[in-house]
Symmetry: C2
Subunit: 455 residues, 2 copies
C-alpha cells in the first residue's frame, strides 16, 4: 500500500467534527475504495479538544497548519470570508490542495482563489459548498460534461424550504415557522442569509458558473427572499394547482426564445438570468414535493433532458460526505503522482467546469430583462368592469393570461383577483402593474410572485 | 491545444447515432470543457451510411476498428453478449479504453472484462449501462465514495414504470398498456426482458457491486416481473396509501437488523439481498411519484442519508450523454499522459468502485432469507371467524400486521381481505401463507406483493 494521505481539518465545529466521525466510522470503506490510508494529521482549532485522537496535532494557529509539511490536503471548515480566505490562499501558495464548504467565500472570491490554485498546480474542491450532500458539483462538472445546460432550478436553502413546507402543510404564518426553525437549529439567530435569499444566491452563483462556463458573478444575482410570502398566497397557489417554493434559477436565453409575449418583447434580453426568488411551480412536479429541509436541483440540458438530484442540503453527515468525496477524488490524483503533491492541471476537472481561458463573458441580464410567468394578486372594489380593465391592460402590454381566479367579495366589498400569466419580460410586467395600480377600483399594491412551469 | 482524442463508435443504431449527433451539436462545449478536440475517426457499421461525415472511416469489420491505430477509445453500442464481448476483449488487449452501454454483457461477464482491463492498464466505463442518462454510476463510485451504503432502491426499467404508471393513472389493464408501450417503441416486440424484470436485474447486479464492493453476481438476483400485477391490487394499494412500483433493491443486512419479526426470525440472514420485484411504497415518497418512462434511484448511505437521482432511463439523447460523460473522464486521464494511451490503474476509479483485491465475498441471501414487508390479498368466504383465523396464523408465525382492509362481500359471498405486514423473513411468510391457504374458508391462492417503507 502506498504512503498515507495526510489531511488537516481547519475548524472543529459541527461539520469538522462530522468529518472526523466519518473517517472513524468508514475507515475500512475508505481504504477498500482508495487503496490508501487516509489520516488526519493536524487540526486547526481555537480551543484544545480532548475528544480528538492524541496522534493528531492540534494547533490554534491555522496558518501554520495550512502550510505544514505533514499535510497533503487542507480542509477549510471555519467559514466566513476573511480568515478563511487568508488561510486558503496560504495553503495554495504552499502547494496544498484545498477542500472547502465555504459557499460565501467562493461566490465572492472564487475567481481569485481558483486562479491562484491553477497557477500553483493544485486544486480547490467545493462539493460541500452547494446543496450539502447532494453531489451537484460533481454532476454538473463531470456527469453533464457532454451536455449544453439550458437552465437549472434548485431548492438550495433548507431553512427556506422548511419554512415554505410548514406554511403550506400546516397553515402556519411565516414568523411562527421561522421561530420554530430557529429553535430547531435550522435557522441562525440572524436569519437574514437564509430568508432573504443571500445563501441561495451564493450557491446559485456557483451553479451558474459551472453550468454555463462563466466567471463567478455573485453581485449580479437577482435576489428576493421569502419574507413577503403570506399564507393567503400559499393557499391561492394551491387552489390553482401550484406550490410556492424558494428557488434559484440560472437560465440561458437566446434572442428567439424570449418572445414569450406577443411580439413587442424587449429584444435586448439574450444572455443569462441569475435569480433567486419565491416561485409558483406545478404541484405535481417532483421539485414541488421536495419538502422540509431537503434540497434538490433540477437541471435541463441537451441532449440529456431533465434530471433531478435530491437529498440533505445541510447537517454534519451530509456535509462530511461531500467533503470526503472531494478528498477521495484528490487521493486518486495524488496516487498517480506519488513522488510529488502537485500534478499538471489537466488531471483536474477545471474549477468552473470549463478550462479557464474558455470562460465566457456572456451578458448577465438585469432584473427588468428577465422572462418569467407571474402570479398576480390584485385587490379591487367589486365594481362592474374592473376585471375587464385589468385584463385589457395586460393584453395591451402583450401579456397572456393563463388563469384567473376571482374570489368572493370580502366584507368590505373588496375582491381579490388572482391572475396567472404566461412568461413575459419583467419590464413589460412593470408597466402593466403600474397601470393597474392607477385604476380607481384598485385598493392596494399588486402582489406579484414569479411562476415557472419547469417545462 | 493537445492532440485530438480519437473515438471509434461500434454500432450506429439509435444510441450510436445519438452520440454522433451529440458530438456535432455540442462540439464547442466539449472543447471548452476539455481543452481538446474530440473526434470520431472510425465507425463500425454493417451497412455503409451516407449520413456520416466523409472524414470518418466506415468499416463493417468491428474487430479491425476495435484495434485500429487511429483510435484511443472504443465505444461499444452493438448490444448482445457474444460479438460485443469479443470486440471489447479485443479492444482491451490492444490497449484501447472502452465505453459501453451494455448492461447485459457487464452483468454477465463484467468480472472477466474488468480483470482483463486492469491487467492491460485500460478502463472500461459504463455509465450508460444503468438508468440511461442518470449519472448513477459516477454518483455511487465517486460522489458517495466516503459513505457506507446501507441500501438502494431503484426504478431502473422505463418500460415497466410506464406500464405501472398507466395502470394506476388510467385504470388500464396490463396487457392493454403493454401493447401501447410496444406501439410507442418503449417495449420490444419480445417484452420478456422488461416485464419479467431481467433488464432491471442486470442493472441491479451492477449497482449492488459498486454499492457494497462485491463481484458481479447476476445469477443470484431474485427476479420477479410485473406480469402478475392486477388493477385490483393497484387500486387496493392506493386505498391504503401506497403505490406499486417495479423496483430493484440491494440491501445490506446485519444479524441484528433482521429480527423484524418477533424473535423467532431466521438467524441465518446476515448478508446482501439482491432483488427485483413489484413493491408497494408510500404514495408520498418521491420515488412513488417518478412516473412514465422515467428512472430514479434512491440510495441510503451513512453518513449522507437518503439521496435520490431521477431522469430519463433510455433514449438516444440520455444514453449519448452518459456515454460522452465517460469519454470526458477518460480524456482527462489521457490528457495527463500525453505520450501514452495507458495510465497506471490508480488514476481510474476502480471498475467496481472498490479496488479489485478488496472486493468481498459477502453472502448473497436466498429469497427465503430476505426480509420485507408484505401486501397480502386473501379471498375468503364471508364466514364468522375467518379474519380471526388469518390473523392468528400470522401472529403465531411472528408476523406483525400493520393494516387490514376488509372489502364488502362479492356477489358470490366472498370477501377480499387485504393485509399489510411489517418486515418479515420470507421463510416465515411462506409458512404462514401455506397455513392460510389450508383454511376451509379460503377460496383461492393468497396474492402477495412485497412492501417497503423506504425509511
Amino acid at each position: 500500500m502506498s504512503k498515507p494521505i495526510k489531511l488537516a481539518i481547519l475548524g472543529l465545529g459541527t461539520v469538522g467534527t462530522g468529518v472526523v466521525h466519518l473517517i472513524n466510522d468508514n475507515l475500512n470503506e475508505l481504504k477498500r475504495r482508495s487503496g490508501r490510508d487516509i489520516i488526519i494529521t493536524e487540526v486547526g482549532t481555537r480551543r484544545q479538544r480532548d475528544d480528538i485522537d492524541s496522534s493528531i496535532t492540534q494547533n490554534a494557529d491555522l496558518m501554520t497548519v495550512a502550510s505544514s509539511d505533514n499535510v497533503d490536503i487542507v480542509i477549510e471548515l471555519i467559514g466566513g470570508t476573511t480568515l478563511a480566505k487568508d488561510v486558503i490562499m496560504h495553503a495554495i501558495k504552499n502547494g496544498k490542495h484545498v477542500v472547502t464548504a465555504n459557499k460565501a467565500l467562493l461566490a465572492e472570491h472564487g475567481n481569485e482563489i481558483f486562479a491562484l490554485a491553477e497557477a500553483n498546480g493544485v486544486h480547490v474542491a467545493y462539493e460541500a459548498a452547494v446543496a450539502g450532500g447532494i453531489p451537484i458539483i460533481k454532476v454538473m462538472r463531470e456527469a453533464l460534461a457532454a451536455n449544453r445546460v439550458d437552465w437549472l432550478a434548485g431548492i438550495i436553502n433548507g431553512t427556506g424550504n422548511f419554512i415554505m413546507t410548514e406554511m403550506r402543510d400546516k397553515g402556519r404564518p411565516f414568523d411562527d415557522v421561522l421561530a420554530e426553525a430557529q429553535a430547531l437549529g435550522y435557522a441562525e439567530a440572524d436569519p437574514t442569509f437564509d430568508v432573504e435569499g443571500i445563501d441561495a444566491a451564493h450557491k446559485l452563483a456557483l451553479l451558474a458558473s459551472i453550468a454555463f462556463g462563466i466567471p463567478l458573478q455573485f453581485d449580479k444575482v437577482y435576489c428576493e427572499g421569502i419574507t413577503g410570502i403570506t399564507l393567503q398566497d400559499v393557499n391561492y397557489a394551491e387552489e390553482l394547482g401550484y406550490r410556492i417554493k424558494h428557488l434559484g434559477f440560472a437560465v440561458r436565453r437566446t434572442g428567439e426564445q424570449d418572445n414569450a409575449g406577443q411580439g413587442n418583447a424587449d429584444e435586448d434580453n439574450a444572455g443569462i438570468e441569475l435569480r433567486v426568488h419565491p416561485t409558483l411551480i406545478p404541484q405535481d412536479a417532483l421539485l414541488a414535493n421536495v419538502n422540509g429541509v431537503k434540497n434538490a436541483v433540477l437541471v435541463n440540458s441537451h441532449p440529456l433532458g431533465q434530471t433531478l438530484y435530491c437529498g440533505d442540503g445541510a447537517g454534519a453527515g451530509a456535509t462530511a460526505s461531500a467533503v470526503m468525496a472531494d478528498v477521495m477524488d484528490l487521493v486518486r490524483v495524488l496516487g498517480s503522482n506519488d513522488d510529488s503533491n502537485s500534478a499538471n492541471n489537466s488531471q483536474y476537472v477545471p474549477h468552473l467546469a470549463f478550462i479557464p481561458e474558455q470562460l465566457s463573458d456572456t451578458t448577465i441580464l438585469r432584473a427588468e430583462q428577465m422572462t418569467t410567468g407571474y402570479y398576480l394578486r390584485v385587490h379591487a372594489f367589486d365594481h362592474p368592469g374592473v376585471l375587464a380593465d385589468i385584463t385589457r391592460i395586460l393584453s395591451d402590454a402583450g401579456i397572456n393570461i393563463d388563469a384567473i381566479l376571482q374570489k368572493p367579495a370580502h366584507k368590505l366589498g373588496q375582491v381579490p383577483v388572482i391572475i396567472l400569466t404566461l412568461p413575459v419580460v419583467e419590464s413589460q410586467m412593470n408597466v402593466a402593474i403600474e397601470k393597474i395600480e392607477q385604476l380607481e377600483s384598485i385598493t392596494d399594491k399588486v402582489v406579484r410572485i414569479r411562476l415557472d412551469e419547469l417545462s
